[in-house]
Amino acid sequence: MQLTEALTIIREHLSADLRLCRIRLITGFNPLHLKTFLQAHLQQRIPASQVVVLTDVYGDLTGAVERLQPSTVDMCAIALEWPDLDPRLGFRQLGGWGYRELADIAVDAQSKLVAIKESLENLPNHFPVALSLPALALPPVFYTPSWQLCGVEIGLRRAADELALWAAGRPNIRLVRSQRQPVDVRTPQAFDFKGELMAGLPYTIAHADQLAHAFALLLVPPVPKKGLITDLDDTLWAGIAGEVGPEAVSWDLDRKTQLHGLYQQLLHALADQGVLIGAASKNDPEVVEAVFRRTDIVLPRECVFPVEAHWNAKSESVTRILDTWNVHADSVVFVDDSASELAEVKATHPEMECIRFDPQDYREVHSLLYRLRDIFAKQTITQEDGLRRESLRAGSVFRKEALGPGVSHENFLRDAEARITFDFAAAANPRSLELVNKTNQFNLNGTRYNQTEWQDSFGGPNAFAVSASYRDKYGPLGVIAVLAGQASETAVTVNTWVMSCRAFGRRIEYQCLKAILDRFLAQEIVFEFSPTPRNEYLQESLKLFLREQPAGRFNISRAVFLDKCPKLYHEVEIHNE
């Protein structure tokens, strides 16, 4: 991003109507351009808010971290540099670079790092902090030649790394990973020597932009995609299985097809973290199954669901997989070696990200491995991530049996042995916010929250958040619904209500309403509803209680609910009432 573009973005969002999102930027140096770029990058990530970046006095990073008051801002970014640990590790002070000073510098740096750690430790767990370790190289303070790594430097780096290691274990702190090796101070990419001496601006514009972008991604992370649909021949493995036979396709070093083995390995890792992996292949299904039966396969068959192997168009397969997963095309990536297949799928599902796997282009495949990691990257892996694949498989069985010949849907629900557990301490569960921020089809109003906004919404004495976990004889789904709002003596106002698409068709939504009516003994529920382009399922589910399609806030009284609610068969358990 250029400075001009950054200023333009900021200017376009100067509006009194937008909610303010306040960021504290802490640096020991003048953060001039870093501040501008941080504001612009964050503004792009949260266009519905007006981002305001606040700074502290320069030259005292440790003190600024100590003074940080989480109640006054929504999040914080800290750019640590060597001079913050000891001014002699910079160029703006003349405190001495002699060998006699080294031991003292190391002690100083250590004590500053301890002070920073103590201040960070006092921040609440829900307060997001992005932290970057020193990105610029150390000045020529060591007596050893520049091509030799000095013990004191190792000690300084280790002390900073220890802070980083501790910070990485905190739920609220995210660390910037420098894309490059430590930047040489003499190279112009990151360090502006003249800027540092003339104006206290050590970062080049390009580096300020890069760091600000990293901060913005850490503070407002992109929503990870949910699934990946892969081609098989010449993508998941090398060779056309139908032509050379299931035993002759390969993915190993010996046959110079390791690229495919690495791709399988990555998909296996993604499946383990809850990413849905499906396959769409123009192939004989028997041949495909034979390849998956091979003992050396890296991506096991059970990680791939469903497998669409036939001779029809790829887009048909992709559509069926999306239906099985019940997810929207924009949450899914399609990978294929054929440009024409990619184009065919893209034409049917324009929102889907379609990526070419070209086994002839090693550099491209190498970059694809990292790209896929980023597309599906998560801050934490929850219990639900591990359940997702199995619950989808179970959901497919659920739907097949529910729609099977001679099966009454009512009897099917009655015999499903469903159990719902409501937890009224859901505000503190990270899964609740994750679900709120990624659910589209069953979402009361589409409002997304950052961690601070989410926690702040429970500030009042009557605020509540309840989650619902579900299991039936087909398996557990984990935490699949969250409701939040305020309860008064007569009414409950619900301003957040989401439910995972994996849980549709089980009448869980009605049990949720019953749970809050019972819990708060309310006579009505007020819904802070807004239609979104994607929340038709929620609207459909509530239609039976309403005379007309809602356009905004609406109520359902206890009497109407009890009168119209279909029969519920779930066994219900309440926690933290």
């Binding site: 250029q2 400075l3 001009t4 200023l7 333009t8 351009h33 104006a199």
Partner: protein, 101 residues
């Protein structure tokens, strides 16, 4: 006529730079802006303005010259002078770049 048109183009593009850095400044005050007449024009704003001008005109404005560039007219004159440490002669540059903004 051509020179006049180039000058107008340069003037407009410089005005856009000013408008980005000092959003409260409107035409025609913008064309007579100076560090003494614009309260927001401090040393940091001067650096931002210089960097925006660098991007817009693909030139390098050194820290050393910033103290001299304290008004719209002075910057305009500077951009129009041959003092710039630019690989391309400015007249050629302006002819070859019909507005990058």
């Amino acid at each position: 006529m051509k020179l006049k048109s180039i000058m107008n183009d340069l003037r407009q593009r410089l005005a856009q730079c000013f408008s980005l850095v000092f959003p409260d400044l409107k035409v025609p005050a913008l064309y007579s802006a100076s560090s003494s007449s614009v309260a927001a024009w401090d040393s940091l704003a001067a650096i931002i303005l210089a960097n925006v001008i660098e991007e817009e005109f693909q030139v390098k404005l050194d820290y050393d010259v910033l103290p001299e560039l304290v008004s719209f007219d002075l910057i305009m004159n500077y951009l129009d002078s041959d003092d710039l440490n630019n690989d391309h002669p400015k007249s050629d540059y302006l002819k070859n770049n019909n507005g990058i903004s």
